[in-house]
Amino acid sequence: MAEAMQTAQALPVGSEGKRSGGWWGVLALIVTEGSLFGYLLFTYFYLASQSEQHWPPDGLPELLIPGVNTVILLASSVFVWVSERCIQRSMLLCSLVSMALAHILGVCFVAIQFNEWSKTTYDMTSNLYGSLYFTITGFHMLHVIVGLVILMALLLWIALGYFDHRRYAAVTIGGLYWHFVDVVWLFVFTTLYLTPYLY
């Protein structure tokens, strides 16, 4: 028997928060998805820095609505965080309401972003900038939609009473993914909306 190995100690069973496999798996997923966005933004800067076209072709982007939208998305993250905190204390209703709010804010983000898309005078095929803009925001949108499906599932599961203070790993894990999607947006936002002002 290996020395100093305590064998008679009680251990948690099953998906226990940050000890669960899922938590570690999502961390790894975030690393690889983070790299994906890294490469996307690398592509943007690489092509933008060598472009002879006027950049962005339509002049500097307008900041107000995208800025507000950014705040909306971040607020959504805050509510996901609150929802997790509540479930830790077995405050189911609080958790449910926060999750619902988070979801609604996420949907608002999507709606506003779609509206932004429809306002542009270019599309994916018009020019290089259009290709980049729509691919990058499109990739992010895809992640937001996946995130919203996850939040929806969490909402349902909380409502069904699946979780309380003892087991709620799904909320922790799904929440982490949502925070990731929101943080990525900050990078996308900075790249597409703020850096054009720098040159």
């Binding site: 290996a2 190995m5 064998t7 251990l11 948690p12 069973v13 000890r19 496999g21 076209q53 003892r166």
Partner: protein
């Protein structure tokens, strides 16, 4: 931690794992077997999540791809055997070398190593399965489907033809209007999903699924190799997936990423491709080197010399690999990009690789070698490694000599690297672990024949390619004129290739014969030191009747080595049989941390894999509605997959639990 205290009372959420032993035939053992068994027949076949089955599937599938790539190569060698042959048209030759490269690099060399690691990791680490058994199944199915997908345009005579690194603009719509490049692009994105989820699984498994006491400095080198490869992959694969996806968008959706006329940059392709390509080459050799580092010592009757140095050099190699990609990013102008990738890669790899080579040589030197077939393959590997390394240094020493870099010299070099460092360890590894896989020994006589025929054929076939290169023969030409002076070398090369292929054939015959008539294997026929040899051959479905406690790097050699502080405990350990259970430990020192509930067999991985593949089929054929439908089917499968289950204690509601019955 307050919640833990509260739930202490509830055994469903927190309990002291039972210690005990479960010898074969005991009630406990029977119960374990029932818990972990797959359903008989096709249902079990489609739904199994057993890492051993999945590992074997990976091995067999990847080996079939090796044979397919091999046949393509032999056809090329027939064409090149003599000057002015007309067996193949130039277009057919382009498709063949491209498909050969794609098959060998993507469908054979990494998947075969994933096969070994999938099968062996839990056994070596003292666990009952990988961290994510269902993800494991998914990664296999997607690998299989993407392989089929990549070959789909081959029968139409429209296979990818722009070389395996597929440079634009040649891979653009202008030069390649057919479906070939689209198939390649989408197939690679699909395969990327498989590689990524597989890598995530390995990483989490290493950090969470080791037996108590197997601290990070006690894991076998194969584990280090695969871990390093997996970490590299989760950073690198998105790069190539993105590149292929953007290429597909350019071709089919009218974007302009690589389109020179509209400000796009073909160079972007090369950046993204090589950011991935450099680490990838390490990913396909490091686990293979791990196989040798683990298996060679068994036949030298002593532990590997310099365990820590080899483990560190494994990781150093990967770090350098990422460094090499950076030279692509900051180097101005083209010369660096034009450098052969294998040339540059091997220049850097040679430093930490030298450490590994010295460790292997020292192990043989200081040991008492037993000249069995696996030993021959591993020793042969060391020799080829040195030759490949030398030719690598040569190409790297003439980095600006474009002549040499686009000649057969590089073809010779890359085959020494890939066959020497991947195929030889793989075949040796199969000889070594075959008894564990199937419970039978492989035939030694046939084994020795297969080694010598392969070894001689390989050197006969590929060494003269160096010469062809020095004589100025360019790569990727479909034929040559008689007066060029390349006739003799090419004939020798072609003959050697067929001899090498014959060696592989002997190996296959040996497998078939041994499966049927091999001598039954004991649990540890080679008297090896590591945990996978602690259980019967083939291993029972649950791997370990009790979760062992590990006290050293060589649990089965403790009596003679006396290196650890204590003794490992293999008979006595955690029973863990309230359902499929295993232990989760802390990442570094492997202290028991959690009782993990493992999922049952499930069809969802198969269906999710199938639907994902169909999404790509839909994209390829521009079937819009079908694609949307398949995306919905994927989401549905994922929802079913993720639904919190009581059996896995992912949720709290009304857990019915009868402890007495459970022990009955």
């Amino acid at each position: 931690m307050t919640n833990v205290d509260q739930s202490m009372l509830d055994l469903n959420f927190c309990r002291v794992p039972e210690m005990g032993s479960a010898p074969v035939g005991s009630a406990a053992e029977t119960r374990l077997a029932r818990l972990w068994e797959s359903a008989p027949g096709w249902r079990g076949w489609l739904s199994t999540v057993d890492h051993k089955t999945i590992g074997l599937r990976y091995l067999v599938t990847a080996f079939i791809f090796l044979l397919m790539g091999g046949v393509e190569a032999l056809i090329m060698r027939l064409q090149l055997a003599r000057p002015d042959q007309t067996l193949l048209t130039p277009e057919q030759y382009s498709q063949l070398f491209t498909m050969h490269g794609v098959t060998m690099i993507f469908l054979y060399s990494l998947p075969i190593l994933s096969g070994f690691s999938n099968y062996l990791w839990p056994l070596m680490l003292g666990s009952r399965d990988m961290a994510f058994p269902r993800l494991n199944a998914l990664s296999y199915w997607i690998f299989l489907f993407s392989g089929i997908f990549l070959y789909a345009s081959f029968p139409l005579g429209e296979a990818p033809n722009a070389g395996w690194f597929n440079y634009v603009p040649f891979a653009g719509l202008e030069y390649n209007t057919g479906p070939n490049i689209d198939v390649y692009a989408l197939g690679m994105v699909l395969l990327g999903i498989s590689t990524t989820v597989g890598a995530v699984n390995f990483i989490v498994t290493l950090f969470r699924m080791r037996a108590p006491g197997m601290s990070i400095d006690r894991v076998p080198i194969l584990v280090w190799g695969t871990l390093t490869a997996s970490v590299a992959n989760i950073f690198a694969v998105p790069s190539v997936s993105l590149a292929f996806f953007m290429l597909w968008l350019d071709r089919q959706a009218g974007t302009h990423f690589f389109d020179v006329l509209n400000g796009g940059k073909p160079l972007l392709w090369q950046h993204l491709f090589w950011m991935f390509g450099h680490p990838w080459v390490y990913a396909v050799v490091l686990p293979a080197m791990g196989i040798v580092s683990d298996a060679l010592p068994t036949f030298c009757r002593r532990p590997l010399v310099g365990y820590s140095a080899v483990a560190l050099s494994t990781m150093a190699t990967m770090l350098l690999g990422f460094g090499v990609w950076i030279h692509h990013m900051f180097a101005t102008g083209l010369p660096t990009l034009a450098l052969s990738f294998f040339g540059a890669a091997s220049m850097v790899i040679s430093i930490p690789s030298a450490v590994a080579v010295f460790a292997w040589i020292a192990t043989i030197w200081l040991g008492r070698p037993v000249f069995t077939t696996p030993f021959l393959f591993f020793a042969g590997f060391v020799i080829l490694f040195v030759i490949g390394g030398l030719s690598g240094v040569m190409t790297a020493a003439v980095p600006l000599d474009f002549q040499l870099n686009e000649t057969y010299f590089i073809v010779a070099h890359l085959h020494y690297v890939l066959i020497g460092i991947n195929v030889f360890p793989v075949v040796g590894g199969i000889y070594y672990w075959f008894p564990k896989f199937f419970g039978r020994m492989m035939n030694e006589t046939l084994g020795k024949w297969s080694f010598w025929v392969m070894f001689i054929g390989f050197n006969l076939g590929f060494f003269p390619m160096h010469l062809a290169g020095l004589l100025g023969m360019p790569r990727r030409i479909y034929t040559y004129a008689p007066h060029m002076g390349w006739t003799a070398v090419n004939m020798v090369t072609s003959v050697g290739s067929f001899v090498f292929a014959a060696g592989i054939l002997i190996f296959l015959v040996n497998i078939l014969v041994s499966l049927k008539r091999g001598v039954p294997a004991t649990s540890n026929p080679w008297d090896a030191p590591t945990l996978e040899w602690a259980m019967p051959s083939p291993p029972p479905v649950y791997n370990f009747a009790v979760i062992p406690f590990v006290a050293s790097r060589h649990p089965l050699w403790e009596d003679r080595l006396d290196e650890g502080v204590g003794r490992s405990s293999l008979e006595q350990g955690y029973l863990l049989m309230e359902g499929r259970e295993t232990i989760g430990t802390t990442p570094l020192d492997a202290k028991p941390d959690i009782i993990l509930k493992m999922p049952d067999d499930s069809y969802t991985p198969f269906f999710l894999g199938l639907f994902s593949a169909l999404v790509f089929v839909g994209l390829l054929l521009h079937w819009r509605d079908f694609t949307v439908l398949m995306v919905l089917a994927c989401s549905l499968s994922l929802t079913v997959w993720m639904w919190p289950r009581q059996a896995l204690v992912q949720r709290v509601q009304d857990i019915e639990h009868d402890k007495e019955a459970a022990h009955g």
